[in-house]
């Protein structure tokens, strides 16, 4: 398998915000590093799960891949060609699709569901025979009834809006689908339906997926490889089964241990992870996880660990992995 998407050393920073006054205060950082040196690749036909702290930069990474976040360093190669120009990103967006995190807010409120579903055809100038028939076909593909076509986004339940998002993303038969929390807000049965549908279409259409999620119970079943982020950096990447069986990075370990079990008899009295959550404005020195790591040593507080390869297909960023 060749790499469909290859990200090398990607960094993204945003202005630190605040008004003019802030900018005048000496020593205040003008830019915040949101993503730092991300290298990651996605093979064609593969499903990559991207998990990690809330605010660690997962959505920013997805947006950067689509040319929607300002890139300050690094390269993105899609289908063998490096994405540099606005035009190359536009072309890339034609063969990829993004499912956004906020389901209702990401659908234009003044368009009916039917219009929303067929909009990608119009934006990208792809012919369709009959708008109404197409919309109904897409609706049935994601298990919604035909009469939904005349509804408006605010008239949908959260789960229905999510399904419309899936139908829209798959409308143009993309090569790559980046799905930001594709099943948040769905009941476990509909979640299963959506994921089974995505899996089926993956085989039929030869899709690749990047699934960004906090739902570990789900992603461990549907992804081939998993990448874990912390504070804008990758801290562990490897085959999903192995990472779940034996996570190497202490953060990945506590993440997996924190998942609440669907059994009231297994309630935990204690949090798996404690300590001050660091901020991107004020990154801890040394290993950025040391403020919360239960096995941190002196070395961790002064020296930042590099990514190191473990075996043939795992990498981890920890001095003691």
């Amino acid at each position: 398998m060749t790499a469909l998407l290859d990200i090398a050393g990607l960094s993204v920073n945003f202005p630190a915000g605040g008004g003019l006054l802030d900018a005048l205060i000496p020593g205040r950082k003008r830019y915040i590093d949101i993503l730092d040196g991300i290298s990651l690749s996605l093979k064609s036909g593969e499903t990559l799960g991207l998990v990690g702290e809330s605010g660690s930069g997962k959505t920013t990474l997805a947006r950067a891949i689509l040319g929607l976040s300002p890139i300050s360093a690094g390269t993105i190669t899609f289908n063998g060609a490096e994405l540099r120009t606005r035009q190359s990103f536009t072309n890339m967006r034609r063969s990829s699709a993004m499912m956004f995190q906020d389901p209702v807010a990401s659908l234009s409120p003044r368009m009916s569901v039917g219009a929303l579903l067929t909009e990608p055809f119009i934006i990208h100038g792809v012919a369709m025979q009959n708008r109404k028939v197409k919309a109904e076909e897409l609706l049935s593909r994601v298990g919604l009834s035909k009469d939904m076509a005349s509804r408006y986004p605010h008239e949908l339940s959260g789960g229905q809006a999510r399904r419309v998002g899936v139908a829209r993303a798959l409308a143009l038969h993309p090569k790559l689908v980046i799905a930001d929390e594709p099943t948040a807000g769905l009941d476990v049965s509909v979640q299963g339906e959506i994921l089974n549908l995505m899996t089926e279409l993956k085989t039929v259409m030869g899709l690749s997926y990047m699934i960004i999620t906090h739902n570990l119970a789900m992603v461990r079943h549907v992804s081939d490889r998993i990448a874990v982020m912390y504070l804008g950096r990758l801290i562990e990447v490897g085959p999903t089964r192995e990472v779940f069986k034996m996570p190497l990075h202490p953060y990945a370990k506590s993440l997996i241990a924190s998942e609440p079990q669907p059994d009231p008899r297994k309630r935990r009295a204690d949090l798996a992870i404690k300590g001050e959550i660091p901020s991107v404005l004020n990154r801890p020195r040394g290993c950025e996880f040391h403020t919360r790591c239960s096995i941190a040593q002196d070395r961790c507080r002064s020296e930042a660990p590099e990514l190191q390869a473990i075996g043939i297909d795992r990498i981890v960023r920890c001095h003691f992995a």
Binding site: G159, H221, P264, I273
Partner: protein, 323 residues
């Protein structure tokens, strides 16, 4: 049990949809007592958010209350005048919305909005309110509260917005907190932190917390009692342990069986409940779950199922349910 803080009685709500009325909620009953954490689970589109919106009197303009009442401290909040309703919303009953984008105004900084959420608190300066806002942001796990206060909603990550909307609701120090999917945009460590915070709150004050969620793990970890909904109806209610270990309604059983968290082995094709939910434009006369139920017999299609008492605390809407 003592008098309920909040009691929903026989509530039916429909939405005008041109072609007819969508029966989003049908004869729902629910009770919440002080100090209790209630979970509401169920299929996508079964009316959970509709019920939650009714609790804070923020139903969509095309919604109609077809029957029923919601008693808060004994008074029906659906029939009281607008002014009294406004006084309730916030300090008495507050809501964390499913889509955090809808909680905040996109063109106002988080700080100004969070100060504004406290408008009903008298004799406290704006500086003090801002300080309280920062403090609560820290409590819900926002790493840099000061920076967050200066930002606009779109400059926060999805999970930060969600935590900020939880903070916004808590700033109003409500008696009843209704949280619609409060942890979906959070990573599991943060989710655990929010669950612990909500549990702490329960012991701190005698209010009630009502959590709507699809995450069965969250319900198991947080809630005392659970209501299970399907196609606009409450189909089962019970103590959390009974719902997970002795569910009586076939839908409850099917829902729990679909949770991928139960599978240790790699399961690329996830289990689902086959079949579809009936149209809510014309809900069936018999059991709404009949088309998908293994136990269905002809009676299930012909007659509405009874509300069967399983025990003092557990009930199920099913012809076949037995104590």
């Amino acid at each position: 049990m003592s008098e309920a803080l909040l009691r929903v009685e026989n509530l039916s709500i429909g939405y005008d949809a041109g072609i007819g009325q969508i029966q989003a909620l049908r004869a729902a009953n629910l009770e919440a007592h002080g100090g209790e954490v209630i979970g509401i689970v169920g299929e996508s589109g079964c009316g959970k958010s509709t019920l939650a919106a009714a609790l804070i009197n923020l139903l969509a303009p095309n919604a109609h209350v077809n029957s029923g009442a919601i008693y808060y401290k004994g008074a029906d909040i659906l029939t009281m005048d607008k002014e009294s309703q406004r006084h309730l919303r916030g300090p008495e009953i507050a809501m964390v919305f499913q889509d955090p984008m809808t909680t905040f105004n996109p063109v106002i900084t988080m700080g100004d909005q969070l100060v504004d959420f406290q408008h009903h608190i008298e004799g406290v300066s704006n500086t003090e309110k801002r300080r309280r806002a920062g403090e609560l942001l820290a409590r819900v796990g926002i790493p840099d509260p000061e920076l967050c206060l200066r930002r606009y909603p779109h400059e926060l990550s999805g999970g930060m917005r969600q935590r900020a909307s939880i903070a916004a609701a808590l700033l109003m120090t409500p008696n009843v907190l209704v949280a619609d999917e409060p942890t979906t945009a959070l990573d599991v460590t943060m989710e655990a932190q929010i669950i612990h915070l909500l549990r702490e709150l329960r012991t701190d004050y005698q209010g009630a917390i009502i959590v709507v969620t699809h995450h069965l793990g969250v319900v198991a970890e947080l809630c005392d009692r659970v209501y299970v909904m399907y196609a606009g109806q409450v189909v089962e209610q019970g103590l959390v342990d009974d719902i997970y270990h002795a569910p009586k309604h076939p839908y409850t059983r099917a829902l729990i069986a679909c949770d991928p968290a139960h599978f240790e082995e790699h399961t690329p094709i996830l289990p689902t409940i086959t079949g579809r939910v009936p149209s809510l434009l014309h809900p069936p006369v018999g059991c709404s779950f009949a088309d998908r139920c293994d136990l269905a017999i002809s009676r299930c299609r012909e007659m509405a199922p009874p509300w069967v008492r399983i025990s003092e605390t557990q009930f199920a809407l099913c012809h076949e349910a037995r104590p």
